[in-house]
């Protein structure tokens, strides 16, 4: 492979990382807003949040990407830059998965903690901020780490829309060289390295957060994808 082709691959890596960071930020925000809304007092808030989760978890990420690219522009009369369209589709979809993690972790906090907050006449917002979240967040890290890997794999989907990410650059090189084995092996390896680095840093984060609430991290994070039907354990 020539250096010109490697430059294409590096551009692809950069696009993939941008997309990953932006959609991870959006997905985190959505996860917390929707996940906390599902514990709200009012049934209508819980219902709307649950409805959002079912709809966005129910559909396929790739269908959602097509929808954002092709249906939103004529419907609303404006068009997003591909990077933002990809971010929106991935962030909303994976945020729905993440909201289940947030809900599950909040529900797993010892009920006595919440009751203690009530007894000390904390407001609901203070209880969430000072009591529930600091204990729930460290528990969320291992499932969020798995979800982040799923999101990384999901970013490859935007190449179908012609966005120049890592998977797309593989296609360019394949067409240029008329040979696929080498470039696709490299691309898979690059994805694997990114995934490895992400897993590692998430494990470090977990350790730090758990030390903050006086808990030692478990030896090995469960390495399974977030289960769907039933709540996240």
């Amino acid at each position: 492979m020539t250096s010109g082709l490697w430059e294409r691959v590096l551009d692809g890596v950069w696009v993939t990382i941008q997309l990953l960071v932006l959609s991870a930020l959006l997905a985190t925000a959505v996860s917390f807003v929707v996940g906390i809304a599902r514990t709200h007092r009012l049934w209508i808030v819980r219902f709307l949040a649950g409805f959002y989760t079912e709809v966005f978890r129910g559909t396929s990420a790739l269908v959602m990407i097509f929808w954002v690219f092709f249906v939103l522009p004529p419907a609303f009369g404006w068009q997003l830059v591909p990077l933002w369209a990809g971010t929106l589709a991935l962030g909303l979809t994976y945020g729905a998965y993440g909201s289940e993690i947030v809900r599950g972790a909040l529900a797993a906090v010892d009920p006595a903690q919440r009751e203690g907050g009530i007894a000390l006449s904390f407001t609901p917002w203070q209880r969430m901020k000072l009591i529930l979240l600091p204990q729930a967040v460290p528990e969320m890290i291992p499932p969020f780490s798995n979800l982040l890997i799923e999101l990384l794999k999901g970013t490859a989907l935007v190449s179908v829309m012609g966005m120049g990410d890592l998977a797309f650059s593989a296609n360019l090189v394949r067409l240029a060289l008329q040979e696929s084995a080498e470039i696709y092996t490299y691309i898979l390896l690059i994805y694997f390295v990114i995934a490895f680095l992400l897993t590692r840093s998430m494990r470090g984060l977990e350790k730090k957060l758990k030390a903050g609430v006086g808990k030692a991290p478990k030896k090995k994070a469960a390495d399974v994808r977030v289960p769907e039907g039933s709540g996240v354990s």
């Binding site: 709809v55 092709f70 419907a75 999901g154 998977a167 696929s180 696709y184 039907g229």
Partner: protein, 216 residues
């Protein structure tokens, strides 16, 4: 926003074709992932690390890289090595292989959850290894993991549109073809989006019912 029911009506015949292909991918992909996953899980229990290390490394690699790129890999590279399959066969194999690296974890958990006493009883009864696995351990392990396997079938349903990228005309492929020929994107894409939500919601209800029956 303009919504044209005529376009929906025109799209429906293609939609049913696509749905049929999607369900075929799902059924065969699931079967492959169930069988291969069990094979990986059993290989990981062999005592020698000459087996467990390569199997662990390969499955870890497959699990952490995008299915889309794996599809392209198989679709473009296998023919270079002189192996040609139809796009559909390649796609079904790729999706089954990808998900087998997840189901393997499920089986592992199920096997580990079988009480030690069952192993000891099998030893006490002098059952050969083969029969210990086939009549004692696996029936109990598999029963435990059915709900978790079901969750992966639902996940797989939502990954079937990826096969569109290697020219398989499943639901999304049909929708895109229809959209490009008629310049009507909104209707076919919305129809299949709703179809995915409905199918996966029904599947999760069915799964919850199955879960309840297995528990009791």
């Amino acid at each position: 926003m303009t919504w044209d029911w005529g376009a929906v009506a025109d799209f429906m015949p293609y939609f049913w074709d696509g749905l049929w292909v999607t369900l075929q991918i799902l059924v065969f992909g699931s079967l492959i992932s169930f069988v291969l996953g069990l094979v990986w899980a059993l290989l990981m229990r062999t005592p020698t690390r000459w087996v467990t290390w390569p199997v662990g490394a390969v499955t870890e690699f497959i699990r952490n890289t995008p299915l889309l790129v794996q599809l392209f890999f198989l679709f473009y590279v296998l023919p270079e090595w002189g192996i040609t399959f139809s796009a559909m066969t390649t796609g079904v194999f790729a999706i089954g292989l990808h998900y087998s690296t997840y189901t393997m974890q499920v089986y592992r958990a199920g096997i580990e959850a079988v009480p030690v006493g069952q192993w000891e009883a099998a030893t006490a009864l002098n059952l050969p290894l083969r029969r210990t696995w086939t009549v004692v351990i696996l029936p109990q392990a598999v029963r435990r993991v059915v709900p978790a396997l079901g969750n992966y079938v639902i996940s797989m349903l939502k990954d079937t549109p990826l096969l569109m990228a290697i020219t398989v005309l499943e639901m999304l492929g049909q929708a895109r073809l229809f959209a490009q020929q008629n310049f009507q994107f909104t209707e076919p894409l919305t129809v299949i989006g709703v179809a995915f939500i409905v199918i996966s919601y029904l599947a999760s209800l069915a799964l919850r019912a199955l879960e309840r029956r297995l528990v009791h």
